[in-house]
């Protein structure tokens, strides 16, 4: 089975935010409620301004010692041994938010409210991803809805569904191809690529490279 990974070229990121919106479209993430702030929002992928660069942050899909998996009292999240994707099950979650505290990348988001779409906009929801109710935690699953569709297409065409290629929404939306996705083993990782907070031993599957900001040094304070 393919293990999936991602590379992000920070030098190419223009901070346009298309990845953030495309993720929300694909994963049925609702618009913000009244009074939402950057601490209470649902942004499975979020672009931060770090010094002179823009850095997209999303769930790093930790492979080893996955912090969120270890702390969940409900077993609502687990690492898929085959694809390496850390699958969050909002339906099992009871909303204790221990995983949000445990995640060193702060890549998990809580539904403070029931999702509300303006009237009519619920027609545009993606049937491949289930909407979540309030009180549960959610996060990036490497667009598992598209992975399902790719596997199904493979079966329809007689190919092996264990090795499929698919494109997550953020990768597809990025106008500069700063975010790339694929088989972790064969995905080209440009020289100088690092993984964030490697010293913690989480073995994330996303490789970043930047010539302008030292990603190993941690985040500089951003605006606001």
């Amino acid at each position: 089975m393919t293990r999936y990974g991602m590379t992000i070229d920070v030098d190419r990121c223009t901070g346009c935010g298309a990845c953030m919106v495309a993720c929300a479209v694909e994963n049925n993430i609702p618009p913000a409620h009244e009074g939402a702030t950057d601490r209470t929002g649902l942004t499975w992928i979020r672009v931060f301004k770090v010094g002179q660069a823009f850095v997209p942050m999303l769930c790093q899909q930790c492979g080893e010692e996955t912090p969120c998996v270890g702390v969940c009292p409900q077993k609502a999240v687990e690492v898929d041994p085959a694809t390496g994707i850390v699958g969050q099950m909002p339906e099992r979650c009871l909303g204790c938010r221990y995983c949000m505290a445990a995640c060193p990348y702060h890549a998990r988001y809580f539904n403070w409210h029931d999702p509300a779409w303006p009237p009519g906009m619920e027609k545009t929801l993606n049937p491949d991803v289930a909407p979540r109710m309030r009180g549960v935690v959610e996060k990036c699953n490497f667009c598992h809805g598209r992975w399902h569709a790719a596997k199904q297409q493979a079966v329809a065409e007689g190919r092996d569904p264990a090795h499929v290629e698919y494109t997550p929404a953020c990768v597809e939306a990025c106008p500069t191809k700063a975010i790339r996705f694929g088989d972790l083993a064969t995905l080209p990782k440009p020289p100088g690529s690092v993984r964030l907070l490697e010293s913690l031993g989480t073995e994330p599957k996303i490789y970043y490279r930047s010539s302008k900001v030292d990603l190993r040094a941690g985040k500089e304070p951003s605006r606001g």
């Binding site: 687990e78 690492v79 898929d80 041994p81 085959a82 694809t83 994707i85 699958g87 099950m89 909002p90 339906e91 491949d128 991803v129 289930a130 909407p131 699953n141 598992h144 809805g145 992975w147 399902h148 569709a149 596997k151 199904q152 297409q153 493979a154 079966v155 329809a156 065409e157 569904p161």
Partner: protein, 179 residues
């Protein structure tokens, strides 16, 4: 005197047991009939239809499930037999181009992802294994639905899926079956 107390207790217990085992199932389930009195038997025999004439896979591997009106209209634009059910169907649905609100026996919760393509084409499971023998039924099954949860009585639960997956050593992870 104590006997009276015990008798009352037992009477209460018996009443509860009776209500719980006999009355409750009648109350908690609601039965509903399909909007159209469709006979699989007639279509299989007289029209020579096979399952996948109407319940087919699309090009992207998704399963069409219950067919849309245009499938029925392709043959039933005019009456083909002489049953009252067909006449009603043409009057109420074909002529005004209205999709019948078919009841779905196997509707799973929203967060469940089931791929017919994988189970039919790769696991070679027959339709009857999970859906029962609908093909030879003269009249559509009545849908027995739980009033509170809204799910069908004989809906395949996650335990049933897991049991077969364990047997076939196809157990991977939550995201395989959940969305």
């Amino acid at each position: 005197m104590k006997l009276r107390g015990t008798i009352l207790f037992l009477a209460g217990a018996l009443a509860a047991l009776g209500a719980g085992w006999l009355g409750f199932p009648r109350v908690i389930y609601r039965t509903q009939a399909q909007p159209v009195d469709f006979s699989h038997k007639i279509h299989a025999e007289k029209a020579g239809s096979k399952c996948d004439d109407c319940h087919a896979f699309r090009a992207d591997g998704s399963f069409a499930g219950v067919p849309t009106l245009d499938k029925c209209s392709s043959c039933h634009a005019a009456a083909m037999g002489d049953t009252a059910a067909e006449k009603r169907f043409i009057e109420q649905y074909v002529t005004p181009q209205r999709e019948p609100a078919w009841l779905v026996y196997a509707r799973q919760p929203e967060n469940v992802y089931f791929s017919h393509a994988t189970h039919v084409k790769r696991a070679n499971l027959k339709c009857e294994r999970c859906h029962g023998d609908q093909g030879s039924a003269a009249a559509p099954r009545i849908l027995v639905e739980n009033r509170i949860s809204g799910y069908s009585l004989d809906l395949l639960s996650m335990d049933a899926c897991i049991a077969c997956h364990r047997e076939q050593h196809k157990e991977n992870s939550c995201l395989d079956c959940h969305k």
